[in-house]
């Protein structure tokens, strides 16, 4: 599924400045969250990883990636149980969002 800006457009009520602002905020925040996730993944800090995924989940949903959101939610649960099952799928979601943010 392709990320989209429908939610941002909807809550902007046509306010282009807000749209720019929120996209810039996500562009700043998402790479930090991704990096933090990757660092915690290396150190196998499962509790922190679950928090990282939880936070990123919000952005997945903002971009209308419903199926990806479900994967992330399941992955978060796995991490709470000290399992990294679905990590590859989650990495793919991160890549998808990263490339989307580079384009917009």
């Amino acid at each position: 599924m392709t990320p989209n800006l429908k939610y941002i457009e909807q809550i902007s009520f046509g306010d282009i400045e807000f749209q720019k602002k929120i996209i810039n905020t996500i562009k700043k925040e998402f790479p930090i969250e991704k990096e933090q996730y990757q660092e915690n993944f290396k150190s196998k800090n499962y509790a922190r990883l679950a928090m990282d995924v939880h936070k990123i989940k919000h952005k997945i949903n903002i971009f209308g990636l419903n199926k990806s959101y479900e994967i992330a939610a399941e992955y978060e649960t796995n991490l709470k149980n000290n399992s990294t099952t679905l990590s590859a799928e989650f990495d793919f979601i991160l890549k998808t969002i990263t490339s989307f943010l580079e384009k917009i």
Binding site: Y7, Q10, I11, S12, F13, D15, F18, K21, I22, T25, I26, K28, E29, R48, M51, H54, K55, K57, H58, K59, N61, I62
Partner: protein, 236 residues
């Protein structure tokens, strides 16, 4: 309403600010990326409503809630749909909103907050509010909110850590206390008549001996509550 936002995610804070910007009577006083800074602020400032993210590192939303001595109204924001049940353990939590926040749900939550603000009068306008605006009560039940028409309530009974809200054909069990529900009920209609009972005086059929007949339910009148009850009745 003066509000603050507590969320470690700046994107989430921006979204809430945007949603608030399209609501009348909402003034975002401050925003906080961590709960500890908000505690300091709340110790020195009065506000009406907090938007609180539950999942924050180190000191999460629940930790924060437990520090509140005189909590204002609180709307939880979370990306976890399973969180609703525990959210409603606290009666000052009026709603929880799943991220990304849906506009309609947001508007409903704000309406609820405004209603609650009206029903907790700073002056003695409770009766007017009951007559004109607030005719419903929302209770936390089955991981959600249930709307109860105040006029339909016959009486409320305390049972341990729970209260039973009794209507003619329905009983609703809620994790709360008589003291808490009495705070939000209009005192023109509801009065405590026993340590375990609040009644709706509009449904009194008769009073005999030490019991009130509320539509075939005989409710005992406690000695200490008797005079207040009779003061409130329209006696000849």
């Amino acid at each position: 309403m003066d509000c603050i936002i507590i969320d470690d995610e700046s994107t989430a804070r921006e979204i809430i600010k945007q949603l608030c910007s399209n609501q009348e009577n909402i003034n975002i006083v401050r925003e906080f990326a961590d709960a500890i800074s908000a505690i300091k602020f709340l110790n020195e400032n009065n506000i009406d409503l907090i938007f609180l993210d539950i999942h924050m590192p180190d000191f999460n939303g629940i930790d924060f809630i437990k520090t509140l001595k005189n909590p204002p109204q609180l709307i939880l924001t979370t990306s976890d749909p399973n969180f609703a049940a525990s959210a409603f353990e606290f009666d000052f939590i009026i709603d929880y909103l799943l991220k990304p926040i849906d506009m309609t749900r947001f508007q409903n939550a704000i309406a609820r907050a405004e209603n609650r603000l009206l029903i907790k009068p700073k002056d003695n306008t409770r009766e007017k509010i009951f007559e004109n605006q607030e005719k419903y009560l929302y209770v936390n039940i089955n991981k959600g909110l249930k709307k109860i028409n105040l006029n339909d309530i016959l009486f409320i009974e305390a049972k341990g850590d729970y209260i039973i809200i009794v209507k003619e054909k329905e009983r609703t069990i809620v994790h709360s206390s008589l003291k808490k529900i009495l705070e939000v009920l209009p005192d023109i209609a509801f009065i405590q008549v026993h340590r375990s009972y609040i009644i709706n005086i509009n449904h009194i059929v008769d009073i005999k001996d030490n019991g009130v007949n509320v539509v075939k339910n005989i409710i005992p009148i406690g000695r200490q509550y008797k005079s207040k009850l009779f003061q409130q009745l329209n006696l000849l």
